[in-house]
Amino acid sequence: MKIASQAFLLIFLPIGLVTYWLILRQARHRLIFLFVLSMLFYGLAAGGYLLLLISLSVTTYWVAHKKWFGAGILLNLAALGIFKIGDFNLEHFDWLLDALNLSVETSLLRLSLPLGISFYVFRHIGYLLDVRSNRYPPSDQLLLFLTYAAYFPAVSAGPLSDYRQIADQLSNIPKTPNTEIIQNGLLHLSTGLAKKILVANTLQHALEAGLYGDSLSKTGLIWAWLSLLVFAFQLYFDFSGYTDMAIGISLLFGVVLPPNFDNPYQATNLTQFWQRWHISLSSWFRLYIYLPISRGLLRRFGAQHKALLETLANLATMILIGAWHGLSWPYLLWGGYHGLLLSLRPLLNWRILSISSPRRLAQALTFLAILVGWAIFLSPDLPFANHLFTNLAGLHGLGAITEILQVYDKFTLATLVIAATCSASGIVEAKNIPVVKRPWYFALWGTIALLCILQLAESVEFIYVLF
């Protein structure tokens, strides 16, 4: 089961909401019901991996009480590592194996990645680190902790949230729903569906033929940049659409999740981009990886090498973010690329990427830098990357417009223009869409939600669920 599926939206969610608000009256019963819903959702979505989620969560809860933080973190990382590496193909390291004269089976365990493991492991680790640093005491309610860890709107692909933020809300579920929160939830859900189904899916279908299908036969500057733009907006609308849906569904149950996107393509520099893109993940890495590494390095080597040490911390953090997406060269290079660019500002005082430049120019240059990063990110292998970059540089000519229009038809191009315009205007985020407090306006959003549900049968999986 996925949150963008008919089974979820037409059966699971309506029954869940009716039971939650109309049948159950006590806060405790509602908490238990949320836990049951979360278990049911995860079980239907991931099958036997539900046991892994439960056992890791129970273990994390227990080690927090025992103050065995190191063991808890290692256990969670080991679980994540096994599944990430199990999906990793040692062919990426053929050159090293040849140099060492080693002959090793190049495909290891080939385990499928459990749904949401990257996210719930990070929730566990964040919890353990917070308890260790006395931000809050360890939870004394196993049910509350399990519900937080497996909370179904966010279990697949976030947003990541602080334990205390969610636990406070789960402990104080109101008797009657807050109307403003419900309205907000409905708008988020409708917006998320529209972004995912009407925009992201259209662009994804175009990419399958235009970028990935027989891609090495396609050439031209126009093809390369167009494909990159389509990818950039497909990824953004897909992931932000999912996040809006997750936030909206959670709001319908009265629980507020943190935002995950804030018009990232309007950023005027890369630091700002990472404050606006996948906010919960980048905040998590900043808080639990970057700050400890940079503080540790500064303590060890002193403040006289501050710029260099921060560069190292940036590089390490961003490469880890890349590795989190997948243990393959494109993701690692992408992480390194962003780490390097983030470090360039303090290192070189490169004004052209600073906020003091004209805003639109800064946004354009930042967007260009982001696009180059996406070109690395989307390449499945080095030959593809080489082919794409040589075309981006125009080394194979402009390309034939007629051929390009065969793969990117007028509807796709129109959708791309819509996506770009919405991004540029800032109206793409659900929280930024002006609310017309009229019933007919909400009725229109209800209609859009239905039109999106009609197209769910051919929907493509949310891309970040795959990480």
């Binding site: 037409l10 403003e180 309205q183 009407l198 509807f411 819509i418 019933p439 306006y441 909400f442 009725a443």
Partner: protein
């Protein structure tokens, strides 16, 4: 001041009435003018249903943009209006400002929009009923729906036949009359389009429920074990509901519920309504269940083969646990009712076979494993046989348009040759069933 306020209100009312009138006129004109245009456009389109669904996708995207524009315009208008209110003497006379709309009304508005749109879409789908999933029959279904035809015909039989043919459209042309001529056994062809493994026990229960004391002796089953492990109940008629296990019954209800929220289904429905479309089928069926298709030409067969070869080999997978459980259930029912089972693979056209199924090809490797499983499975029972006639030469069949309609559908001529080749096994199976009953 009072007068100018009244004039303002009248003006508002007049504007609203004019807008409503314009909208009504547009809808009426649209219906009168646009429907024929849409019909003509669809006539000229090679894939009209696809065109319709694409149009609806575009309309959905346009509505999304329109809503964003409305929201943005409203924001600008509100800013202008709040400035105007500060200077206007009619400020107190403005009726429903946004702050005076009850919050619950907004949620109700969303739900109303969703329900109205859902109701409209669901009504269109049920009215058009292009897939025959609902009990309305205003238009012919666009799919080939053979199950209700065969169920009705079988139920109308006075007596259970000795042999019942089950399976997919690949078995349509197996002639009960030829089985009777050759072997002296009465027969009925109960094969249906796209029969899936889970349907075998379902149809078995249906067949054995008809006449308690007089059951078929042999089931001749064309159902390769390497088929996809799907459970799709869209084509299952409600008359088979009593024979579905609980999980498939839930699937049945689920398919019909979600079928009301499917864009392709809606497009098919609109197409059926606009065009009063005829069923997209050529097959007709006799009372004994045998299927008849207009003969093809050699050129037509060649074209069909080219297309099929270009599309690649058929899907093949080793029988999953679920598929195996369906076969096991079938065997259990067969033992219980003392009925013999003869599994048969019908021939593929030799050109198609050579292109995708030759020894060592991926399909062949998969098929061989699946058939080995089936053979081992059959070996555990005394009343189950397996016949592999996927190679035309095994039935000494006809290769040209006299023997094939396309790469996998055989004519009655080849079906008769298949019966000849299977005759001995069918006799053994018949005798085995009699022996079981005489014990």
């Amino acid at each position: 001041m009072q007068e100018s306020c009244s004039l303002g209100k009248l003006r508002c009312l007049a504007v609203r009435l004019i807008l409503v009138g314009l909208l009504t006129l547009i809808l009426w004109l649209g219906n009168k003018q646009v429907s024929p245009l849409v019909s003509t456009y669809l006539d000229q389109s090679t894939q009209p249903v696809g065109t319709l669904s694409n149009l609806m996708r575009m309309a959905s995207t346009s509505l999304y943009i329109m809503i964003l524009l409305i929201a943005q315009s409203h924001l600008w208008a509100s800013k202008l209006l709040s400035k105007a209110r500060q200077t206007s003497s009619c400020a107190g006379n403005f009726k429903k400002t946004s702050s005076q709309v009850h919050p619950d009304q907004l949620t109700q508005g969303w739900i109303t929009g969703l329900l109205l749109a859902s109701g409209f879409v669901a009504s269109l789908i049920v009215y058009g009923n292009p897939r025959g999933m609902y009990p309305t029959h205003f238009f012919s279904p666009r799919w080939l729906l053979v199950r209700p035809i065969k169920i009705e015909a079988y139920t109308a039989l006075e007596k259970s036949p000795d042999v019942v043919v089950l399976g997919s459209s690949r078995a349509f042309t197996i002639a009960p009359s030829y089985i009777y001529e050759t072997l002296g056994y009465t027969a009925f062809n109960a094969s249906v389009e796209g029969m899936l493994p889970y349907e075998l026990p379902v149809f078995f229960r249906f067949l054995t429920d008809q006449r308690d004391n007089n059951l078929p002796k042999v089931l001749l089953i064309e159902a390769p074990p390497y088929l996809a492990d799907e459970i799709s109940t869209q084509r299952i008629p409600s008359s088979l509901l009593p024979y579905l296990p609980v999980t498939e019954t839930l699937h049945f209800v689920y398919d019909r519920y979600t079928g009301l929220f499917d864009l392709e289904h809606l497009a098919e429905s609109i197409f059926s309504i606009l065009r009063t479309a005829e069923a997209n089928v050529d097959w007709t069926f006799q009372e004994d269940g045998k299927g008849i298709l207009p003969p093809t030409t050699q050129a037509g067969l060649n074209q069909s083969l080219e297309q099929a070869i270009a599309n690649g080999p058929p899907h093949c997978q080793f029988p999953t646990f679920r598929t195996q459980s369906h076969y096991q259930e079938l065997a259990r029912l067969a033992a219980k009712h003392q009925i013999s089972l003869v599994f048969v693979l019908t021939p593929y056209h030799p050109h198609y076979y050579a292109a995708h199924m030759e020894v060592g090809s991926p399909f062949d490797i998969c098929k061989t494993r699946a058939m080995e499983w089936l053979a081992n499975f059959a070996g555990q029972y005394t009343n189950i046989w397996v016949l592999d006639f996927s190679l035309l030469e095994r039935i000494q069949g006809i290769e040209n348009e006299q023997g094939f309609y396309d790469h996998q559908h055989i004519t009655e001529a080849n079906a008769n040759l298949l019966i000849n080749a299977a005759a001995d096994t069918l006799r053994q199976a018949y005798q085995a069933a009699l022996d079981l009953r005489n014990r």
